[in-house]
């Protein structure tokens, strides 16, 4: 088994209302922050130990289902 973490974020330039609302609250609290973007983390177990083939499989999963390539970017971390 290989543990994989997929991080999904909204593409630059597309509206991220949660990020905007949270940034506003952080500014109200006195924290000087620039843009705030929300994302999603998905932890997966893949039944394969070859890193290259795990990456290829998870990339396909991201393209087809886990991310919406129209509005989201994704990154893949192989943890173990």
């Amino acid at each position: 088994m290989t543990q994989v973490r997929v991080s999904i974020t909204r593409k630059d330039g597309l509206s991220d209302p949660e990020g905007v609302a949270t940034r506003r609250a952080l500014l109200d609290l006195g924290y000087d922050v620039g843009e705030v973007h929300f994302g999603r983390i998905i932890n997966l177990e893949v039944d394969d130990t070859d890193e290259a083939s795990v990456r290829a499989a998870v990339t396909a999963m991201c393209e087809r289902l886990l991310a919406n390539p129209v509005i989201e970017d994704y990154s893949i971390e192989v943890l173990s």
Partner: protein, 235 residues
């Protein structure tokens, strides 16, 4: 006449507007049937509607899992063949996830669930959703969604603006402004269609505005457009 034209109203786990849609179809002279999302043959139908709700719990993203329900391969086949396909609210989100319509729907600008009537201006009559309407008509129809904020990358939006936008949020006079934009949708987009005009989607619920008792009958013209489109093509 279009009486008896068969419309498949797809039911996903979590759909909740299918009966209202079926009722509306019947009222307008079509012959609707509720079809479970695991069905793989829709060849007996003249049109397909994906109704509102929370298909598959809206997990992952709205429409993301429904897009892979077994019935969707068949919906894609019919859409490609020119059959009228309409997505309302969650159904619109599913059509976008499936790539049958461009762009995506994300959380409303103000992060509030919106449940109220809105005004829509008809922008194009070149779709199964608007062909019986007139450009410039203003319709008052309920909006009922949290993820109704239409987004698309700039090139996709530019392409869509060449006739693909069929409805925009407006005020009661038909003026399109930021103040009349309930959810932050780019260019006030409320409804769009594909290049062929046979696949259309909108966030508001026309099926909830078809009888005086519902407060508005403005949704009729949109659903009448759909019913009138049913005998044009059969896949």
């Amino acid at each position: 006449m279009t009486i008896g034209r068969r419309v498949a109203v797809i039911v996903f786990p979590g759909s909740n507007c299918e009966r209202d849609v079926a009722y509306a179809m019947q009222l307008l002279g079509a012959d609707p049937e509720l079809v479970w999302h695991r069905e793989t043959d829709l060849s007996e139908f003249d049109g397909v509607i994906l109704p509102g709700g929370f298909a598959h719990g809206d997990y992952l993203r709205t429409g993301a899992i429904a897009r892979f329900s077994p019935v969707m391969t068949e919906v894609e086949r019919l859409a490609d063949a020119g059959t009228p396909v309409l997505g309302i609210c969650n159904g619109f989100q599913i059509l976008c996830e499936a790539g049958l319509l461009p762009g995506a729907l994300v959380a409303n600008r103000d992060l509030k669930f919106i449940c109220r009537p809105v005004h829509l201006r008809v922008e194009s009559t070149d779709s199964v959703l608007t062909r019986a309407a007139t450009v410039g008509d203003v319709l008052r129809i309920p909006l009922n969604s949290f993820e109704g904020n239409y987004v698309a990358p700039a090139p996709v939006l530019d392409d869509l603006e060449n006739g693909g936008v069929v409805l925009r949020y407006s005020d009661a006079d038909g003026s399109v402004s930021d103040a009349a934009n309930p959810n932050g949708s780019l260019n006030n987009i409320a409804g769009i269609a594909n290049g062929g005009g046979n696949v259309a989607g909108l966030m508001p619920h026309p099926e909830r505005a078809i009888e005086t008792v519902l407060g508005s009958t403005d949704g009729r013209i949109l659903l009448e457009s759909f019913v009138a489109s049913l005998d044009r093509v059969t896949a």
